[in-house]
């Protein structure tokens, strides 16, 4: 029975929480004024990894591609997951990559981690307009079985099998929870509704123990931190950054103001007389209902 090695790929993102986010007058994000933080979906992926730490004594590694300041995200993810290896892949050559070029860096990064991985977690998607493609693309490059939208999982260390529940939501159909089983290694992208459950006393004790350890480690995160440039990683330079990206952003424009589909009657909200008229219109609209 071997141990379990878990990697998490994460991302530094603008902090969309109230007070930290700043918008331009035209409603677009003001990137210069907005703070950065560990992306919320990345944080959930780190929680899923920590579940593996508590339940199966897994060893956790975290990888991210980003600018040097992305070490902040690694530290925050370490605080959640009790990771003992933090890897930042940072090089000007990586800049401007689309998801294919990013997935290539992450693949090489994961293969270079100190252990051979059994499970790799990614978040559902990034919040700053990202696509949800990087996770599955990295999985395919690694040759790992990909499980998406996972809301819970367990591992049988004996048989080296994973069981997972996946939430599948399709427009026009009721949502489905699918239970699947697959041999390790697997790549799991975590659903936003993922929850870790620690049911027994010993699990809760292990949770506390590792949480304490995580805090100590995160205080000294530099001891666990490694930074790699393109050369150190040994990536093929034509497969990363701009050369490795099939897609480009051609232009960015404001969405033209939609032509009004309805001609709104504008009403002064402080005038009770006008509100009275609105309500009688609402009443008409609901005429099919039983109204007294």
């Amino acid at each position: 029975m071997g141990g379990l090695n878990i990697a998490v790929i994460i991302k530094l993102e603008p902090d969309f929480s109230e007070g930290n986010v700043s918008y331009n007058p035209d409603g677009t994000l003001n990137r210069a004024e907005t703070k950065n933080t560990l992306g919320p979906h990345s944080a959930i992926a780190a929680h899923a990894a920590f579940f593996g730490r508590v339940m199966y004594d897994a060893e956790i590694s975290i990888g991210t591609m980003g600018p040097p300041i992305a070490d902040l995200a690694l530290q925050q993810a370490q605080q959640i997951s009790d990771a003992e290896e933090l890897c930042l892949y940072s090089d000007r050559l990586f800049a401007g990559a689309d998801t294919l070029g990013t997935a290539e860096v992450l693949r090489v990064g994961i293969e270079k981690m100190q252990e051979k991985m059994d499970i790799v977690f990614s978040g559902h998607r990034a919040s700053d307009g990202e696509t949800g493609q990087t996770g599955p693309q990295t999985a395919w490059k690694l040759g790992f079985t990909f499980l998406g939208n996972v809301i819970s999982y367990s591992v049988d260390l004996e048989t080296r099998m994973v069981r997972a529940k996946r939430l599948i939501s399709l427009q026009g159909f009721p949502s489905v929870i699918e239970e699947v089983e697959a041999p390790l290694p697997v790549f799991i992208s975590i659903d936003p509704t993922y929850k870790s459950n620690y049911n027994t006393v010993s699990q809760r004790l292990a949770f506390q123990k590792y949480q304490k350890e995580a805090t100590q480690r995160a205080e000294n995160y530099k001891d666990y931190f490694k930074i790699f440039n393109a050369k150190e990683l040994g990536v093929d330079e034509t497969l990363v950054g701009l050369p490795g990206s099939p897609t480009i952003v051609y232009k960015v424009e404001r969405v033209p103001k939609s032509t009004a589909t309805r001609s709104a009657e504008v009403i002064d909200g402080s005038d009770p007389e006008q509100i009275r008229k609105v309500v009688s219109k609402m009443k008409e609209a609901l005429a099919a209902m039983v109204i007294k």
Binding site: F16, P136, V176, S245, M289
Partner: protein
Amino acid sequence: MAEKYRHLYVVIEHEDGEFLPVSLEMVGEARRLMDSFNTKYSSNEKVVAVILGHNVQDLSKQLIEYGADAVVYADNPELKDVRNTIYTKVIGQIVQDTKSLGEIEPEYASDIKRPRYMFFAADSIGRHLSSTTLVELESGLASDINKLVIEDIEMSHQQKTGGTKETYAKTLEMYRPDFSGFLWTTILCLDNRNPAFKRDYHPQSCSIIPGVFEPLKRDSLREGKIIEFTPTIDPQDLKVKVLGREIIKSEVDFETPRTIVSFGRGIKDDPEQNIKLIENLAKELNAEIGVTLPMSKKPYQISQALDSKYMIPARVIGTSGHKTSAMLYVAAGVSGAMQHVMGMKDSGFVVGINPDEDAPIKNECDVFIKGRMEDVIPLLIEEIKKQIQIVEVQ
């Protein structure tokens, strides 16, 4: 002229013998695009639907009636459930299968290598399937697209063309609304013509937001080719076992109620109190409560009770959540980003509550109440109490 890349392939999704609406929406948009493409370029490229599953012959026929010129289907018990690995492999085989590509258009049989364009649905299945398939095909993918244009593009690009001016003919311009909903990013998938690292990137692919495009009316007179593809199935690609599937009933119901009251970031000045106001309004109207996407990310410090009840993905209205055609839709403190509008525009009567008369939601409203919800909702509640008494519909 021999062309290596032709046609637009659409990957179809279905459940229990029925198409997902987005599948027919994609076929409809593909038809419109290729009709104008063929006129513009005096060409005859096809819309090809790709469908995988078990017992899918009947669905294949219907795809022709909904606008496809050809359907390539793979029918196998191992394809009954959508499993990413085997699905990716089989789709990869189909789009590179020169035999079926040749059957679609015999005169190009010897030249054609791959589709020119490819569509997937931007949902729980298509989002991941498109990602893995495009790695398998080593080409580009744009996600969450809601507008498509095909044009010749002349450009010089440091990386793509090595700085010289080049014409990229028949390029698919893929429009993607950004996270604010007010910016549109156009994404292109272009071959590298830079001599330093020449490389072809086809198909040009994207995932398409459900609910955006109109399907065509079914027409039983439409004709087309139906081609069976026999996949090569490697047991290595069948490692995932589906143990069970359970339909979940959501605690939030957007189907039965005739009224929905939604709120967005406009609650910000006093989230706790404003949600309570919304609750009261919803109670008077016997309404279900919806939210905008940012609400589901829990942006405010509020009581646990309200947080876990309302700030959840299950309540989101829009492309990332539910689509409603409620009889009455009240949007309080919602700006009207297009991803939200896609989810509520089919409602019967729409009332907006917003102090900003320039908010795009106004364009979707029958009545736009200009004012702060803190002031407006109490007046509304008072008046509704006087005028409307809703008895539970039997």
